[in-house]
Every structure is written in C-alpha cells, then in structure tokens.
C-alpha cells in the first residue's frame, strides 16, 4: 500500500502538516481570516490581538490566573504612579474630589535591559541590496536594541498620525493633553510633503513627558481611572522610530513589507512567517527578557494543576503555527483528529462534545472524556442585544405608550429558548447590560430585571404572555391592533442576515412577536445599508453586540449615554437612547472608584434602564473551550491577550494519540475495486465472445 502513497510512508495520511514539528513544543492553531492590521496603533479586533498580543508589550498586563481581573506591570517595573493636578498643574491630595481634579499624571517606570526581537531595522541597511529583498527574512544580520521610554512616547504620538487612522484617536483626544494639537501639526507637515516619512520625535506632544531613559509621564484631562486599562492594550506598546523609518522605504512597501504586516516588539514571540493566505508562524523571541509563570492564582487553580509550573521561566512554546481555516467544520474535524490542540465549540458540534448535567452544568460527554479532553467555560464580557431605535415614532421615545410596548416585547422574546436553540445553551440571559465579572453586576434576586422576570423559588422566571398582552392593552394596542384606527401594528426588524442559519433565526423572531399578535417584518440588508440606516436613524428594531474593551461598567453603560447617540453623531449608542436622569447618573458613576457607593449608583441606573427597556437585554454568550490532554496551563482569560506564553504541551503524547486516532480505513476502496471488476469482466467476456463469433462467421 505504501507503494501507492510513497510520500506518506511514515506520517499519518491525513495529517495537514509536514511532520517536522511533531515532537517539539509547537502549538497548532488557526486563524479564520487574514488579520487586517498588525500595527499596534491600528489593530482593534480580537483576531489581530491573537498575534500582536504575543509580540508587543504594553506597560501593563492582566494577571493570568487571578480573578476578578487584576492589572500587573509588564513593560513597567511597577504599577504607574498617579498624581492628580489642579488647573495650575499643582498636585492635589489623593482624596481630592472630582470637581477639583483638572489633570491626572501617570508616571511609568520601565523594566531595565529589555531588548527588542532581532530585526533588520536595528542594523545598517544596504540600500543597494534593497531591491533584491523579497521577504523580511532575506535581510542579513538582524540587529536589536535596548528598549527606552522614548519608544513608548513615540507610539503615543503615532496614535495622532493622520495616515495611521488609529481607531482610538477620537476617544484619546478627550483625555491625553495635546493629542489633537499634535494631529493638526502632523496634518500640516504632511501637506508639505505627503510621501515623506514624518519623524515624530521632532513633534512635541504636550501631554507626554520623558523623565529619563526608563521613565515617562502621561498627562490626562480630568480623572479617568479607566486609563490604566488602556495601558494594558497594544495601543500603548513601544514602537522604535528606527522601525518606522525602516518600513517607510518605497521598495519595501511595494512588496507588502510594512509595519502593518511585520510587527516588531519586545514580547515572548516574533512573527517569522506571515502568509495570510495560508499560514502564520510565531517563533520564540531569543532576546526575550526574564519572565516567569505566576506563583499564585485563584483557590481552585492549584487543584486544576494550573500552578504546577509556578516560577518557571516562560515561554514554554518554541513555535506556534496558525493555519488558515475559514470554516468551522473542518476545524472541528481536525481538532477531533488531534491536529489542532484546542477548539472553541461551534453550536453544531455541541452535542458531540458536551452534555449538560442535571444542574445545567456543562460537562464533556463520556466519549470526549475518554479521549482525555478538557472543557473550560466562562461567561464572556460581551452582550448580544436587540435594540429599539428610540428615535422611532412607534417603538421609540419616552412616551408611556411606547415604553409599555417595549416592555411587552421584552417579555415575549424568549431568550432562554433562543439560547437553547441557537447557542445550545452557551449563554446567559441578560438582566441588564452588565455581564457577570464586571463590577456592578448583581447576581440573584437583587439583580433581576423586574420588567421581564419574577423571582420564584430561587430563580428568575419570565413573566407570562398574558402580562405582556395586558401591557399591550395599556399601550393601546389590544390584540396587536391600534385601538383607535384598528390597524394591525406592524414592526420592522432590520437585520443583516445572509448566513445559512439566519433563516431559522428570523423565523424564530417572527414567531416570538406573533405570540402577542404583533406583525414583524424582516428588513434584510447588507452591512453597509444597515450602517446607513443606523446612522440616519431609520432603523426600527435591530440586533447589535458589544465586546468589552476593559472590565469596567463604564465600558458597557456608555453604550446608552445620550451624547453618544448613533444617529447623526455616529457614537456607540446604537439605540439613540437618551434619558437625562441616566446621563447624570452615568457621568457620576464614570469616574468613581469601585466602591459600595458606585454599586449604589449602578443599581439606580439599572432600575431606570430596565423600566425604559431601550434594549431587549439579550444574552451574554458563554465561551466553551476544549483542550486536548497534552495541552497544559490553559485558563480562560477574556481580558489578557498575551496568554500563549503560559501554555505548555506534551508533544510525545500528542504524537501517540494522533497515530491512534487516524488509522486509515481502506476496505471501501478494495470493495469498490472488486465491484468494478464484477461489472466489467462479464461484459468484456461477452464482447470477446461476440467478436470471435463474428470472426468465425467471416472465416466460414
């Protein structure tokens, strides 16, 4: 048989890899689409962070094991020192009130002796050879250099660069002093010579100050405690000016060798193969600074073996191979065959992998457990909701009528059923915008949404259809008809549905509204038109989602803040919700430290929101991660994006299991061949006979 497949004599026939890395610390993972940007000033989506999180090191990071999420220094040597200043720039005491604080000053001191990954930008470039360089790896003698505070400052300035389009520029102008001014200066400078590289070192930024080689300060307008969370995002990672200058060469740009594609950082890994059409590879950074596996974690971590490697130098992995995998099905099948080390579970593979125990707890099926897989679940810090356009004359506005209508709809759209059908139970119906794990979320009776639920026998129970119908009568739509004109109430649902599952989903929504005789018309559009509708406020009911940037209630509640309205202003308040009382409480809550007082304010806010019902709160998805037994040290961490440095593998075990799970099944081939023979041979014989006969006839 090996004669037929000479190339496969030793390997598994169906292995999607060449077999080189099979016995070493190589992690196999995937990416579903080419990441758009790998420039830390620009990148803002989770699939991009999978890569640059391992490469760029911002000043802070989230502790890998501790919960609730906790920041700790990464590029910095300690947590930033915060000083509050008044109008004149004089320091204020720690307990100064919000009104007094005009500026906050963050002083960040860096780790010493941190080196960049080897990169040609740090050694002299032979301009003559430049034309012959097809890839970054063609450059001889990559150099390196020590990290300084200037690199961090340089990156902050890049946020204002007009050509980079940093997605957080708009937001940061509200906080970092002088950022808008820098933007204007840079724009001016670019007008003179648009193609020329701008050396940002020559442009001062008022709000950022270099103290010495290892220290810099950032000046923020007002008090903004959430700023620390931003410091843990790659937007604030260091960027050496040499690198930017290096990539500015037109010869490199033509070959797609740009900073947006070939990141340069101080992190544990570096991107060595970057072929977004097929494969991306991270390799261990030989210059990585001393870094160790955490010594402490949550109480349960010890039992789960998460502390076995405590104090060991990290990273453990030598290489991480990401293959392009567009579809979930092949991914899932390859995971089952052992060719991927971890997998999220798509709703359709759910039954195979997971069953819910009596108490509703998810656990692996016996078959999976036998294969030694491990399941980890976590409620994600995101929300999928259905919003009402508050500017709409029918469902929107503050009138009693519209509010009752919204409340009635909130009751009848049964998200418990939605989760069980479309997400296979991987979600939690939301009582308000805040998911568990975010400060301000309240569990139990205190946290339920009284508009939609009752508390019965220790759990929330959805209110009945009759109550919804009663609300509808109050709203003036008995039996789904306008009490005055008698016309049936028709509502419009604006969606962008094109996937295979969407039809079922839309049917489901329509059925929900039919429960109280409301007619729901689905207005399906493409993404662009949908955005247009949202922007000009002509949508009526829509689906939307939000994924938290950082674990703070402000990052959810600002989605409902009046001045952030989507309509015309293009803010993040997609529902165009505007309630002066909410806005006032939000402004108050925003700058508070996490404290019982803050909890109190959030509770008030919740009451307002739940009564106004501008959203159906929808649900918080649950993440299910499956890991093969040879994959160690995994703990879901929804905030940190540099977690690969903690992972460890057992490649020998992996190799054994792969061989075991992928034994080729050959009998159908032989069977098919025999069948063919059985069909053809008699006919062949028949023809032979006929020809002989005719020959004989001719001879005669």
């Amino acid at each position: 048989m090996y004669g037929l497949f000479p190339l496969l004599a030793s390997a598994n026939w169906n292995s999607p890899y060449s077999e080189e890395g099979v016995e070493s610390q190589v992690l196999y993972s995937s990416f579903s689409g080419r990441p758009k940007h790998l420039d830390p000033a620009r990148s803002y989506s989770s699939n991009e962070y999978t890569f640059i999180g391992q490469i760029y090191e911002p000043p802070l990071q989230y502790h890998y094991l501790k919960r609730p999420y906790q920041l700790e220094p990464l590029g910095a040597v300690e947590m930033p020192k915060v000083t509050y200043l008044d109008q004149q720039g004089d320091p204020l005491p720690k307990d100064a009130s919000i009104e007094q604080i005009v500026y906050s000053l963050y002083e960040i001191t860096l780790r010493e002796g941190v080196q960049y990954q080897p990169h040609p930008a740090f050694s002299p470039v032979d301009e003559v050879l430049l034309d012959r360089m097809e890839q970054l790896s063609d450059f001889p003698q990559p150099g390196s250099r020590t990290l300084t505070a200037d690199d961090y400052i340089y990156q902050i300035k890049r946020l204002a660069h007009p050509a980079i389009h940093s997605p957080i520029f708009g937001l940061m102008t509200e906080y970092i002093v002088g950022l808008q001014g820098l933007r204007d200066q840079l724009k001016e400078a670019r007008k003179e010579s648009p193609e020329q590289w701008l050396d940002l070192r020559k442009f001062p930024l008022e709000g950022v100050e270099r103290v010495d080689e290892q220290t810099y300060r950032i000046k923020i307008k007002g008090k903004y405690p959430q700023f620390l969370y931003w410091l843990a995002m790659p937007f604030f990672a260091p960027m050496p000016w040499e690198v930017e200058q290096f990539y500015e060469r037109p010869q490199l740009k033509q070959k797609n060798i740009t900073l947006d594609w070939y990141p340069v950082g101080t992190g544990p890994f570096m991107l060595t193969v970057n072929n977004p059409n097929r494969k991306m590879v991270l390799e261990r950074n030989p210059n990585y600074h001393a870094d160790f596996y955490p010594n402490e974690g949550e109480a349960t971590d010890q039992a789960q073996g998460l502390l076995e490697d405590a104090g060991q130098p990290i990273p453990f992995l030598d290489r991480i191979e990401f293959s392009l995998e567009k579809e979930t099905i092949p991914y899932w099948n390859k995971f089952l065959q052992g060719y991927y080390d971890a997998s999220g579970i798509s709703s359709d593979s759910f039954d195979q992998a997971v069953q819910l125990s009596g108490s509703g707890e998810a656990q692996l099926t016996p078959e999976m457990e036998q294969q030694g897989m491990r399941l980890q679940t976590s409620v994600s810090t995101s929300i999928y909701y259905m919003g009402f356009n508050m500017a709409d004359p029918v469902v929107g506005g503050t009138s009693e009528r519209a509010r009752k209508l919204r409340q009635a709809i909130s009751i009848v759209v049964d998200y418990e059923e939605y989760i069980s059908i479309f997400a296979n139970g991987r979600g939690i119906p939301a009582q308000g915008p805040l998911p568990a794990g975010i400060f301000g979320h309240q569990a139990g009776e205190a946290g339920i949404n009284p508009t939609v639920y009752r508390w019965q026998q220790g759990k929330p129970v959805r209110r009945s259809i009759d109550e919804a119908k009663a609300l509808l009568v109050d709203a003036g739509y008995p039996n789904g008809r306008d009490a005055e004109s008698g016309k049936p109430l028709t509502l419009y649902f604006d969606v962008t549905a094109s996937g295979p599952d969407d039809k079922a989903r839309m049917d489901w929504y329509r059925k929900q509204f039919e429960k109280i005789d409301l007619q729901l018309v689905i207005r399906n559009t493409d993404y662009n038109r949908f955005q247009d509708k949202m922007l000009n406020g002509s949508a009526q009911i829509f689906l939307w989602g939000w994924n938290a940037d950082y674990p703070d209630p402000e990052n959810f509640l600002f989605l409902l803040y009046g001045p952030n309205a989507k309509m015309e202003k293009n803010g993040e308040n997609a529902a165009n919700y505007s309630n002066p009382e909410f806005d006032r409480l939000f402004e108050q809550m925003k700058n508070m430290e996490n404290s019982p007082e803050r909890q109190q304010v959030i509770h008030q806010i919740m009451a307002i929101l739940q009564d106004d019902a501008p959203w159906l709160w929808g649900f918080h998805p649950k993440n299910f991660g499956l890991y093969h037994r040879w994959y160690r040290n995994t703990k879901p961490n929804l905030m940190a994006n540099n977690t690969l440095k903690y992972a460890r593998l057992d490649p020998v075990e992996r190799n054994k299991m792969r061989k075991e799970w992928n034994d080729p099944v050959l009998w159908p081939l032989w069977g098919g061949g025999l069948l063919m023979m059985a069909l053809v041979v008699p006919a062949w014989l028949g023809i032979r006979r006929k020809e002989r006969q005719s020959l004989r006839v001719e001879v005669k």
Partner: protein, 486 residues
C-alpha cells in the same frame, strides 16, 4: 372588491414571479393549441409522446409543476376581528394555496431537530421526571407521533398508515384510470373494456397512428399517487423527513422549495428568450454593423465571469430594495423581487449561448432560395423574419430552453452557497443545502435536511434531464438519423 375579499377571508397578493409564471402557463397553453392544428409542428411532439421515458418523466414533472403552481397563488389571510363591526385587516405574512392545502404542517413546529418519523427530539434535554427529579432524556415531540399513547406502537402505526396510504393511492389511481377511460371513450369510441385493455397492455390501437405508451404513464401515475397518499397519511401524524434546527418540518420546506426551483428554471429562460431570439436573428439576418454590435455585446457580457456578474447585480438589487423598503408591504414581496432579479441576471449571463446559435442558424437560412425569393418580391424584413426565419429556428430555441432548465435549478444551489442566490428567508434547496452543510459536522449526524433537498432536487433534475434528452432527439435534425434509443 373588498367585500369579496372579506367573504373569502383573504386578499390576493400578486407577486411578480406569480404573474410571470401564470403568463408562462398561458404562453404554453397558447403554444399547445397553436401546434395542435399544424401537423408539421406536431410531428416531433409525436415522437416525444411515443417515448416511454419521456412520458414517465413528464408525469413526474407535472406533479412538480402542479405543486409549484399551487404555491404560486399568494394571498393574505384576514386577521381575526377583535369586534364584529371592525374593518378587516390582512396579515403581512402571505400564504399560498399550497399552504392552505397542507394545513397544519406549516404550523406544527417542534423545538429543534427530530429525525424522520421520530416521536422524540434528537438531542437530550433536561426533562422533569415524575418525582420532580430532572433527568437528561429525549423529550416527546409536540406534534410528531403525539397521537400515540406509547411510542412503542410507532412501527405498527407507521405500517398501518403506509398500508392505508397505498390503498387510498390505488383508489385514487383507479379514479384517474376511470376518468381516462371515459374520456378516451368519448373521444374515440369503443367499449370501456376495450379501452382498459388498451391502456394497461399498451396494445397499439388500430385507429391511432401514434400510440401513447399508456402502461408507463399509468405505472408512474400509480407510483406517484400511492406515494402521495402515503405522504398525506404519514404527514399529518409524523414529520416525514424530520425537523430542522428550529423544529420546522423539513418535508414542508422541501415541498415549498419546488416553486423556487421551477421559477428559476423557467422564468430565467422566459425573460431572456425575447432578447436572445431577437438579437440572434437580427445579427444573423442583417449582418454588417448590427451583427458587429450584437456580437460585441454578447462577447463582452460573456467574458465577465458569470458568478461575479451575478454577485454584483444581486448586491445592487439589494441596495434598491433597502432604499425603497416602503414599496414592499410583505417579506414575500421583498424576497420575490430578489428572486425575479436573480432570474433576470441569470438570463443575462445565459442568453449569449442561444443568441450565438440562432445567429449561426439564421446566417444559414438567409441564403436559402425561398428567402432570397421573398427579398426579390419585396417582402418586408419584419415579415420575412416572423414568417420564414422564426418558425425555422424554433427547434433550436426549444432544445436550448429544455436543456437549460436542469442546469439553472442546479445553479441556484451553488449561488445560494456563495451568498448571492435567493433571499435567505426564502425556501429553496440551495438554502437548505447551505444550512445542512453545518449539520453534517454534528454527531450524531443530522442527515435528513441534506437528504430531503437531495431527493427533491434529484428527482426534478433527473426527470427534466430525461425529458430534455428525448425532446432534443425528437427535434434535432442531426440526431434523428440515429433513431430511437432507450
């Protein structure tokens, strides 16, 4: 008018594709009556009618067509009046006569997947036991097999229904045969017994020159009516082909998809035909710059990869629909416009082949003596084209229409996969396959949606292919010499 609607309790809804379909039916009926009177046109059809294969396929195709036509009469049912004197309002969701006929099937939806003929859901759920203990078990279905006290009786019940269905089917068939006999007697005379013998044994009737293959037709009819009655018997009690992710009956979806398939297969050609015929003949007849222009047009259109042109055009119509959302009162109207546009754009990408064939044919024809003679007599171009050329290229048109049909039905599935097919809310085999793709990764595998779409599509396309083969052989002068095969 509105009084009439109120009386019936429904308001008709005229969709574009409905109108076009009925127009097509009218065109075909007209064509039939036109052909009947002209023996030279009738001759090839007699050849088709003699073929057992063609007639067998035709019966199957007719069943599809009838279902499709029933599904092409849309109406909006009246909503219940809250008070007797109120003005009557009509639902925004349109139904068709087919929906009305299948009745409960449309509404009988379960919670989620269930296998064909199942009495329980396909996946385990937390079920509250008798002592209030929750267990993981397969819950009973709301509709599927809910008449059974004990699910154990299922196989007996199914056998019983099948038997009953086949008896009913045979009765229905007998009824059809009876009506046929009466009709034939009325047309041709003879004793009823003689007629029956003729029908069943296929004896060539002395009075007929072109005997129809009656046995084949009747056997296929028997098969179809038995299957139909079985489906009705089982369909009211079970989900014959299971349910999908949100518990909708897959059999119902597959049946509803028939219309979409037929619309794409037929309307596309109906829409492109006038252009292809007109331009093709013009190019061949006038030659010169007109020929150049037409050739240029179709070469240009042809050189754009079809899928990309369709994708771009579908995005465009979606923009139009979204910008004019108020024009469409119901979801059906929106998806219908997209369907119509899909037909148009498919027509645009597929008319070039026919156009080129017609051009070639016309080039040959115009050199014929009788056409040159007509020229000499000063007959106008228009008259020459309509009287002499058009009738002589009709066989090319007919063959290509019949051949295109199955290809278009198959194309719909592929386009839906790419995301530029019919509206995702519309029932279509393409949408079913697209959804079923994900189900193949489940364990245990959910295979019935794929199977249902496969079966329904396969039978239609197979019948169409077989029929078109015979039609081509009957009409194509080149293949006639090889005579009848099969």
């Amino acid at each position: 008018m509105s009084a009439l609607y109120a009386l019936v309790g429904a308001k008709p809804l005229f969709l574009w594709t409905d109108l076009l379909i009925w127009l097509l039916v009218a065109v075909i009926l007209f064509g039939v009556s036109y052909t009947r009177k002209r023996p030279h046109l009738l001759a090839p059809w007699h050849r088709v009618a003699r073929s057992r294969l063609a007639m067998g396929s035709l019966v199957v195709l007719l069943v599809y067509v009838v279902i499709g036509l029933l599904d092409s009469i849309h109406y909006r049912p009246a909503l219940e009046q809250s008070e007797p004197g109120d003005e009557i309002h009509y639902a925004v969701e349109a139904r068709t006569v087919l929906d009305w006929l299948v009745g409960d099937l449309r509404e009988a939806s379960e919670k989620s997947y269930s296998a064909p003929m199942a009495t329980h859901l396909y996946s385990r759920e937390n079920v509250e036991g008798e002592q209030g203990v929750t267990q993981r078990d397969y819950p009973r279905l709301k509709y599927g097999g809910n008449h059974l006290q004990d699910p154990q009786q299922r196989s007996g019940d199914i056998t019983q229904s099948l038997l009953l269905g086949s008896v009913q089917g045979l009765l229905l068939w007998s009824l059809i045969v009876l009506m046929l006999v009466l009709w034939l007697r009325y047309r041709k005379g003879g004793s009823p017994l003689q007629r029956i013998v003729t029908l069943l044994r296929g004896h060539a009737d002395v009075s007929e020159k072109q005997p129809l293959p009656w046995p084949t037709i009747l056997w296929v009819t028997a098969l179809v009516s038995v299957l139909l009655m079985m489906a009705i018997q089982l369909g009211v009690k079970y989900h014959i082909l299971g349910t999908d992710k949100v518990g909708q009956d897959v059999f119902y979806q597959a049946v509803k998809s028939i219309r979409t398939g037929l619309v794409i297969g037929t309307l596309t050609t109906l829409i492109m035909l006038p252009f292809a015929v007109m331009l093709g003949i013009m190019a061949g007849y006038f030659r010169g710059w007109i020929d150049d222009l037409i050739q240029y047009t179709y070469t240009t259109l042809n050189s754009i990869p079809g899928v990309l042109l369709i994708a771009a055009a579908i995005l465009m119509i979606q923009v139009y629909i979204d910008n004019n959302a108020l024009l469409f009162e119901t979801t059906e109207e929106r998806s219908d416009l997209r369907l119509l546009f899909l037909c148009i754009i498919l027509g645009v990408t597929s008319w070039t082949g026919l156009c080129r064939l017609l051009r070639g044919e016309t080039l040959k024809l115009r050199e014929m003596d009788y056409i040159t003679a007509s020229h000499a007599f000063g007959v106008s171009h228009l008259r020459i084209i309509t009287r002499h050329i058009l009738p002589n290229v009709m066989h090319v048109v007919l063959i290509s229409v019949v051949l295109d049909f199955s290809g278009l039905v198959l194309a719909e599935a592929v386009l839906s996969y790419v995301g530029v097919g019919v509206d995702p809310t519309m029932h279509s085999w393409g949408n079913m396959i697209n959804g079923a793709r994900l189900e193949m990764a489940r364990e245990p595998v959910v295979w019935w949606t794929l199977l249902a779409s496969f079966l329904f599509m396969f039978v239609l396309v197979l019948a169409a292919n077989l029929f078109s083969d015979v039609v081509r052989e009957a009409f194509d002068p080149r293949v006639q010499s090889r005579g009848e095969r099969f």
